[in-house]
Every structure is written in structure tokens, then in C-alpha cells.
Amino acid sequence: MKLSMRVNGKPVSAEVEERTLLVAFIRDSLRLTGTHVGCDTGQCGACTVHLDGRAVKSCNILALQAEGADIRTIEGLANPDGTLHPMQEAFREHHGLQCGFCTPGMVMSAVDLVKNHPNPSEETIRAELDGNLCRCTGYHNIVKAVKAAAAKM
């Protein structure tokens, strides 16, 4: 079936099989491999992207459900001149990652979190990130990064 949407500000269209997941379309058709498949069962959040400004798990959505939508992936977060988004900068500064596998999903989720909670407490950050699992860090530096980024956003 025909599919068109905007991804990171650019229009894209393609022919996709009905059962193509949004994450597969992003990674395989568009070659935007920053979005990761961690669990494939909708729990880990490594596949998190923004659909019409809302953080969603792209492994649990059909590409066709995103027809006409505005998608933003981790590749589309930095400024056009390459300078980092405050959330990316905060993750860098506060060492909010180790292996980096959960990081794109964590960053996309955190951006959505701060949009909805502009001045989040540590408790709110920990609760609202419960859809993003990290096996490396124990979350402390991730929480610090989100708190620091919120202050600058």
C-alpha cells in the first residue's frame, strides 16, 4: 500500500506491506537506524520516536497508522547547524549513557516528558521514564541529565 508522511521535516513516500511496523519502515526503508529495536514487545522504549509531537513506541505501531503524520526520530533532534538539542547536550554532559542502546529512545522520551512537565521533580522524571529501560546505568545519570535539560528548555 502507498504510504506518505513527513520524517524529520522532509516528506517521504513509499510502497509498504500492510504489516510493516513503523520502526521497520524508519530503520529499513529510510535507513534511519538511530531508532533501536530492543525488546520488540513494546516494553523497553528503545524504539521511541515522536509522532505528531507525541512520544510513541514505533515497534508497536503499523507504518500505515502514521499515514500523513509528522515523525521525528533521534536523527532529527539536533539543530540544522549540527548543534545539539539541550537534552542531547545534557546526556553528554551528565554521562547519561554507557552502551548507548537505550539512549535514542530515552532522549526522545525525555524530550516529550519535559514538554508535558516543564519543571519535573526527580520523582516525576523517574515515574515518567518508566517506559524506557536501561540495563547499563542504573538510571541515576539519566535522571540528572533530564533534570539539567529541563532547566534549559
Partner: protein
């Protein structure tokens, strides 16, 4: 997942027509349960009918004595709605505790109710607040809607259009979460409604149910202590690796007491 035909419905009538045309067609709302089931091959419909583009299914409307939520209203929308927070804070709070933020940005009220997962939260809200499920054919009272595990009163081809919640005098929902999935091991909605006290329990049995003994006790005395010693028999309750039936029975009373306290 197995292959299927995909149809993006333009209206409720279009969706109903597409449902009747398919061999084994299913409606796709937020997809947070359905897509996951398809990926595991637990479900293999011939056709998926996407309700995501139907404007008439969206919206939160304040009406005399209540709030009507469109079936495609996302959990996140209910949670942050100023109207729902003001009129039925227990409902906003319940919606805000479903799954995680990404699930809440896609999952819908209608999808949750039609699916009737035994450990979902919304069934406790609908049964506990005595809401009415409005379909494209009729209005179904809460007490008539939930039939069993993943089973509702919805007939073939019937589509939930909206759900009307009357305003309670006071209500609260307290959930004991599975720490991994965040589903309800036990979730209790305690409400003093215009028609009397209602206590609805989800997560504990094959479908949401009311606890008449607790309702009688609270009608006489709305306080946590009124529930002391009232235990739901364990024999009809779920037992699994997360909690035994006896523990669920214990949790029901604990969560009910907390809900009564929180509703004050």
C-alpha cells in the same frame, strides 16, 4: 505477524461496513494491545480497520451531570484534560497510570474497553463510576458490559463511539501495579455515585467485578475502617507467578481502604 488487509476508515459507518465485509476483521484503535498480539501471532485477523482517522470518535465533552469521552480519546488526553481533572479527578488519575507515557499517547478508551483485558484499568472506572458505553447501535450500562475474560456485550459489527461518565460525589482509584508491566495485580475504584456506593475491582479475576459487601459497608459509613474484615473469597480470583489468589484477596481490601481514604 500474519498478513492482513488494511483499511483506514473514514467514518463509523465506513468502519461498520468494512467490519461486515471481512472474513474475520478487527478494529484497530491505538493498537497498544492489538499490534502486540499480532506480533506474537496471538491474533490473526483477515482485515484491520483503522479508526485513527475518524474525527467523530475524538473529543471530551462536558454535559449536564457528566463527561462524555470519545472512544478514540487517548489515555494521555484524558489524564491531562482540565475538564476531567476538575470534574472526575479519579478518572484522570486512572488514565495517567495506564502503562507508560508512550502507551498512553496511543492507547484509547474504546480500545481498552472492547479488549477487556482482565488486568486493564479502564474497566474499573466504567464499572465503578457507572458509566454508559455508547455504541453505533445502542447504549450499554456498565453493569451489562463486561462479560468475562476478553469478552464484552459488544455484538459482531458493533463499534464503541463514546463513553458517558456521570459525575460522582467522590471517587478514587488505587492500583497495586505489577512492577514490570505496570498492569493491575489488583486495582480498586471506590465511588460514591448519584445511585449509591460502587466498588469495582480489576486485575484480580477473569473480569472486573463489584464487591457488594464493601458497597453496603461504605454506604453506612464511608471510611477505610468500615472495610475492616471484609475479604473477597479467594476461590474465584486469579493465581499466577505474580500473586496467589489469597494475596490478591488481601490486596483487594488494602487497595479498597486506600481508595476510600484517597476519595476524601
Amino acid at each position: 505477524m500474519h498478513a492482513f488487509k488494511y483499511h483506514k476508515a473514514s467514518s463509523v459507518a465506513d468502519a461498520a461496513a468494512a467490519l461486515s465485509r471481512g472474513d474475520d476483521a478487527k478494529l484497530l484503535a491505538g493498537g497498544q494491545s492489538l499490534i502486540a498480539a499480532l506480533k506474537l501471532r496471538l491474533s490473526a485477523p483477515s482485515d484491520l480497520i483503522d479508526l485513527g482517522g475518524i474525527k467523530e470518535l475524538a473529543g471530551i465533552k462536558l454535559e449536564a451531570g457528566g463527561i462524555t469521552l470519545g472512544a478514540m480519546t487517548r489515555h494521555a488526553e484524558v489524564a491531562r484534560s482540565a475538564e476531567v481533572q476538575a470534574q472526575i479527578p479519579a478518572l484522570a488519575s486512572l488514565a495517567g497510570g495506564i502503562g507508560d507515557r508512550m502507551v498512553r499517547n496511543m492507547g484509547t478508551l474504546g480500545g481498552s474497553l472492547a479488549h477487556n483485558d482482565p488486568v486493564a484499568d479502564y474497566p474499573a472506572a466504567v464499572l465503578g463510576l457507572n458509566a454508559t458505553v455508547n455504541t453505533n447501535r445502542r447504549r450499554i450500562a456498565a453493569d451489562d458490559f463486561f462479560k468475562g475474560m476478553f469478552e464484552t456485550a459488544l455484538q459482531a459489527g458493533e463499534i464503541i463511539v463514546s463513553v458517558s461518565f456521570p459525575l460522582p460525589k467522590r471517587a478514587a482509584y488505587i492500583k497495586f501495579k505489577n512492577p514490570a508491566s505496570r498492569y493491575a495485580i489488583v486495582g480498586v475504584m471506590a465511588a460514591e455515585t448519584a445511585g449509591g456506593v460502587r466498588v469495582a475491582v480489576t486485575g484480580a479475576a477473569s473480569s472486573v467485578f463489584r464487591v457488594a459487601a464493601m458497597e453496603r459497608a461504605l454506604a453506612a459509613n464511608w471510611s477505610p475502617d468500615a472495610l475492616a474484615g471484609i475479604i473477597v473469597p479467594a476461590d474465584k480470583l486469579n493465581a499466577d507467578m505474580h500473586a496467589s489468589a489469597e494475596y490478591r484477596a488481601h490486596l483487594i481490601t488494602v487497595m479498597a481502604r486506600r481508595a476510600v481514604q484517597a476519595a476524601n
